[in-house]
């Protein structure tokens, strides 16, 4: 297998919380440049996988690989420096800072000026700040956030915050972007718009995306491949259509009842 076919890989990944097996023996590969979606009912272990990738949790077993490097035991703050960015299901922005400051915090992994020269705000710091600002402005322009630039996050509507979180992740200049339920809390139009952003990020910026999502319409629209999980185990993997017609997946969502449930019907 070439490195592009296995740009990101999870091998036999497991996570136990006490007696609960949240994720059990999950193995998958993500190809460079694709949108890879993880679906599954509540409690299937989707966000747990994300939290293991961003090293908030340490896996109980198995390993994670990114661009040929084993990242299973790397310190959590070094993940961003490797080029892995993420968003959060319930939005974790810095709410008492402005939109611009939030994006600039996203540049943290790229700032290398020593702390002592920051205390004196030496010309090198000033120049680095201007460069970060230029990059942040590129992201603002890409996502059309100009008119909110100097507003506090706390004063922005939910839909905009969701886009800001995407923008903050883009400021990391990631190679791999983890999106945790990008459409949760958004209305139909906002979800559609989110789908366009995701496609733009994949096509224009060439960023590989792993996405956890419930909205099957969005999943079908943007994903190259889909992984279905249930109770911590892999149910099915393949194209969106293949996974959605898999009887195992349908059973997991509707519990084997004869009537098709809403989510499975989509």
């Amino acid at each position: 297998m070439s490195q592009d076919d296995s740009y990101f890989a999870a091998r036999d990944l497991s996570m136990r919380f006490g007696g609960i097996r949240a994720v059990e023996g999950v193995t998958f590969d993500v190809r460079k440049g694709e949108v890879f979606s993880i679906i599954g009912p509540n409690g299937a272990g989707k966000t747990t996988i994300f939290n293991m990738i961003s090293r908030i949790y340490t896996p109980s077993g198995g390993s994670l690989h990114f661009a040929g490097q084993d990242i299973t035991r790397i310190a959590p703050h070094r993940i961003a420096g490797l080029g892995i960015a993420r968003t959060f299901q319930n939005i974790e922005l810095f709410s008492h800072a402005t939109l611009l400051q939030n994006l600039l915090i996203g540049r943290h992994a790229h700032s290398h000026v020593p702390i002592l020269s920051q205390l004196a705000f030496l010309p090198s710091v000033r120049q680095a700040e201007i460069d970060h600002r230029r990059k942040a402005e590129e992201v603002i322009e890409f996502l059309g956030l100009q008119r909110y630039r100097d507003q506090l996050i706390a004063n922005l509507p939910y839909g905009v915050r969701k886009v800001v979180e995407l923008g903050r992740a883009l400021c990391i200049e990631p190679k791999l972007l983890l999106l945790d339920e990008p459409s949760s809390g958004l209305n139909v139009e906002e979800t559609e718009e989110m789908g366009f952003w995701i496609q733009d990020i994949q096509k224009d910026l060439g960023i590989t995306i792993i996405m956890v999502e419930h909205d099957m319409k969005l999943v079908s629209a943007v994903s190259n491949r889909v992984l279905a999980l249930n109770q911590g185990r892999i149910l099915s993997m393949g194209t969106s259509a293949q996974v959605q017609s898999d009887p195992e997946v349908i059973r997991a969502y509707i519990g084997g009842a004869p009537e098709p449930a809403k989510e499975a019907a989509e």
């Binding site: 008492h96 915090i105 000026v113 920051q118 000033r126 700040e129 402005e137």
Partner: protein, 358 residues
């Protein structure tokens, strides 16, 4: 309202946002420099006290207001700074070395305390720093050979390049100079990646970490800087009181310092100054009104601490943005007069985020 037209990114990095602001700060500086020539000894001394509290307030504001870490032990750092400076001066070290040494040693203590305690958060951190504060208090009291214990320690008069810093006026200029320097450093921090990392830790640790911010490192740095600035305040405090006694650096002083930050307004350097003015003026106001209060309230013991407590509670309940919040609202009201909208001044209810993911 004045509209601001920005033409370059560098403009957003300036210390003051407009030439008019520079004018006002310059005018304020001139007035402050002229005050000792105009006002009497008593007022000059009082204002020197304001400056000393303001220095410590800026230090604590960086920690509580910007990094979101509450310390109830900052009086200990003030004490370490004051004693370090005084002891070094007694041993004949020149003031230009003893002052930075006081700041650096206190910062070092900040690191030493920070490494174990900063893995805690919220209330646990507050309790750990409280314990640290009382330990330092006991050490200052019992280490007779170094600190003089309860006999106290006279602080020698400092001199810079032969120029002796004497009397109220000398302390006034000394603490004003330290305050201006500390404010400059604090403003530099806040426009640098370091300041943004601190704000990020305050607002969401989990996503700060995902942005590549090393939590333990930046918390320790914030603690060290805060402690170091408070140590400088301690050195100035020593010259302000001329005499150090270990019981002066207890929990009451720590709470006064925290009160500065909360009453002034969390998350603003102006707030630290406003808070320091308030905390220094309140005892005077109480003393002045003591006789005119009804029912002998003015003669009740413990009036001052209880008033501090009541005011702190009222501020947290009705104006969480503190005096600085009022100041900004007043500025806005005058700026928009007579077109202000009442809704813009109504307090919005905001709810605390869950601590689930911290």
């Amino acid at each position: 309202m004045r509209a601001m037209f920005r033409t370059s990114y560098a403009q957003d990095l300036l210390l003051a946002r407009s030439p008019a602001a520079w004018g006002w700060y310059g005018l304020l500086m001139l007035v402050l420099l002229a005050i000792p020539h105009v006002l009497g000894e008593f007022y000059v001394g009082e204002m020197a006290g304001v400056f000393v509290f303001a220095i410590a307030g800026v230090g604590l504001m960086l920690l509580i207001g910007y990094t979101g870490l509450v310390s109830l032990g900052h009086a200990a750092f003030l004490g370490i700074g004051a004693y370090t400076n005084a002891i070094l001066l007694t041993k004949g070290v020149p003031f230009i070395f003893s002052l930075p040494a006081a700041g650096l040693l206190t910062a070092l203590f900040g690191v030493l305390i920070g490494i174990p305690t900063l893995r805690m958060s919220g209330l646990y951190l507050a309790i750990a720093t409280l314990a640290f504060g009382s330990i330092v208090g006991i050490v200052l009291e019992k280490w007779h050979g170094l600190t003089g214990g309860f006999d106290g320690l006279a602080v020698p008069t400092p001199a810079i390049f032969g120029y002796v810093i004497e009397g109220r006026t000398g302390v006034y200029y000394l603490s004003l100079a330290i305050l201006v320097a500390v404010l400059l450093v604090a403003m530099n921090i806040l426009r640098s990646p370091l300041g943004r990392a601190m704000v990020a830790i305050r607002d969401s640790e989990i996503s700060a970490q995902s942005m590549g911010i090393h939590l333990a490192f930046y918390k320790t740095v914030a603690f060290a800087i805060s402690a170091g600035i408070t140590g400088l305040a301690g050195a100035a405090y020593g010259h302000y009181t001329n005499y150090l006694a270990p019981d002066g650096f207890g929990i009451l002083l720590s709470i006064q310092l925290v009160t500065i930050v909360f009453i002034g307004g969390l998350g603003s350097l102006h707030g630290a100054i406003f808070g320091a003015i308030f905390i220094s003026m309140l005892p005077q106001a109480i003393a002045l009104s003591r006789d005119s209060l009804p029912f002998g309230i003015g003669r009740l013991p413990g009036l001052e601490p209880s008033l501090f407590g009541i005011i702190l509670v009222l501020v947290i309940m009705f104006e969480p943005a503190g005096i600085n919040g009022r100041w900004l609202k007043a500025k806005r009201w005058f700026g928009e007069f007579p077109l202000h909208r009442r809704a813009a001044f109504r307090r919005q209810k905001s709810y605390a985020k869950s601590e689930r993911l911290r």
